[in-house]
Chain length 345, copies 2
């Protein structure tokens, strides 16, 4: 609808919903005394026609709760153990609070609980949802979509082209990875390994793709799969030293993984960066500054990603629109990354 | 109501609510097509009379969302920085998930946001609330009470005798503190200092009282106020060394504070425990094991406290009762503590 199009009237809404003008008016003014089924029909007609009463009335029609759900698709133990999530939540919390919206964090023990999260989202308790750390075979996006709440995703979703309109905020994972590996190559390193993140997440896939962009014909033994955790980084580094003792550089998919790799290299008597140069991803503080030696890494602004997710969602809620994109493809905001040089590479 | 008392009938509910049997029945069967004001009157009558239809119908009457709010009365930055909260949330999450209830964590930037939390609680989005880390002048308990949701508190609330029926779960803070200070006295220490927690919290007040129980005529200069944070512990330890250079023992109100104190003692060249013995509180792992030297401390089972809070709330929700106590005084479950000896004292 452009600004010059005629605005739909109360009458048009009543006709569409098959109810009286009085009923529409009552719904617009709060819905008291109107049966839920009629309220729903009126709301649907209002939405379909793009009917906009005055702002206060609209907020009643749309039943704003001034509450936004945040769903991290990880077990709560991980949410509290990995500072990445705390940072993203910090950005989200600041932005929601600035707009007097309540942050409703839905915690789970794991994927088995995602159906329950979907039920809560569908229950009319929040105006919208921010969902991040998705894994490829997770039913959550489907459940979120069925719940019918406006949603912004953190990280590029793993699907595409199936008609779902999604909005996401991401970092330039592939470009950042390329910068990291080019930096290592620029130091003259020729046996550059990559410790991946969890490859059921697009951020890990994109970083691996960035590595391959630079090391076009990578020895497959130089790629060790891990899962974004320090323990995963340790295990992957041990495998790498085992099968490629001549490794002279490592690009780790995040700083926690790099920290694990550094511990194993030290135990193995390899000097960093002299024998093996190491680059991480995130620039997670204080982690990246406190490793031994301090970590060269690819900086992404995690807190800003959280803020931006919240801002995009609130903008859409204020407009009362849902995300639309001409092509029906995911609409992403991709933030740039920068290489931060410290001592490890 | 005992098991042998006659069960209230549908008719009695209808009479009490001033509505027809049919209306009560419709509310009991989901409330569709009944005006909100009547639903409320029926629900009130159901509650007052203790009317219990079959289980499925009851859950409709009581409009269970299978969702429980958790409110930590601290800024979200603190919630994510202090592992105490992660542990308590872990216990809560496990227990709620075991009963297929959704954990709804309401995060804030600080006390200014508590009114909004109160509004969310009053909005009918959760069945009950678990509230912890209360501070004495916090409006939250009042807001929670006004919201009318069943609540269990973590930690003894700071009020008493004003007729509010509250249920809480706490540790034996005073007894644990006595054990800590007696242990230090038993080592022959005569200048035993105390670094307090945030004294607007009952846990800190109770631990200070426990210290005073043992050191009856404590030199007031030996008591340094802090706030349960490592930075607060560092500042307090510096003040103590300044004004009482002869201090030979410190009981810190929690492990994080003790860790801060240990750093300052090391900087000041004091050997622990030879020159100054140090005892903490919590037995927070890995903190207590990773200090230098490892920390003697008072163990409380933080995760179990969380579990127990959730269990007590779910029990009440299942019974459909609210907390009642003959005297109207807070009804507390107080868990025992144990002294764990490591190297620091």
């Amino acid at each position: 609808m452009t600004d010059t199009a005629p605005r739909p009237t109360l009458e048009a809404v009543a006709a569409r919903a098959g109810v009286s003008r009085a009923t529409v008016s009552r719904v617009v003014n709060g819905g008291d005394g109107v049966r839920d089924v009629l309220v729903e029909r009126v709301r649907k007609a209002v939405e379909e026609l793009g009917y906009v009463p005055n702002q206060a009335a609209r907020s009643l029609v749309t039943r704003r709760h001034d509450a936004v759900a945040v769903v991290v698709a990880e077990p709560e133990t991980r949410v509290f153990a990995d500072p990445f999530f705390a940072l993203q939540l910090r950005g989200i919390s600041k932005e929601l609070t600035a707009h007097d919206n309540q942050l409703v964090l839905l915690l789970t023990e794991g994927r088995d609980d995602h159906a329950r999260v979907g039920r809560y989202l569908a229950g009319g308790h929040v105006d919208g949802a921010l969902v991040f750390s998705l894994h490829l075979d997770d039913p959550l996006p489907e459940l979120v979509q069925r719940a019918g709440v406006p949603t912004v995703f953190g990280g590029r979703p793993g699907w595409s082209g199936d008609g779902r309109n999604v909005v996401y905020v991401d970092s330039d994972n592939r470009g950042g990875a390329r910068d990291a590996v080019r930096h290592l190559a620029g130091l003259g390193r020729t046996r550059i390994a990559h410790i991946t993140g969890a490859l059921d997440q697009t951020s890990a896939v994109d970083r691996l793709d960035g590595y391959r962009d630079v090391v076009a014909d990578a020895d497959p033994r130089l790629i060790a799969e891990a899962d974004f955790t320090p323990a995963g980084g340790e295990r992957a580094m041990r495998r790498l030293l085992d099968r490629c003792p001549d490794v002279d550089a490592v690009f780790a998919a995040n700083d926690l993984t790099a920290a694990g790799a550094l511990r194993v290299l030290r135990e193995a008597g390899r000097r960093v960066p002299d024998d093996v140069a190491v680059v991480g991803f995130d620039d997670m503080l204080p982690v990246a500054e406190q490793t031994d030696p301090p970590l060269t890494t690819v900086r992404q602004d995690i807190e800003e990603m959280g803020r931006l997710m919240a801002r995009l969602l609130l903008r859409d809620l204020d407009r009362g629109t849902s995300h639309e994109d001409a092509a029906g493809a995911p609409a992403g905001v991709v933030l740039p990354t920068t290489l931060v040089r410290r001592a490890s590479a």
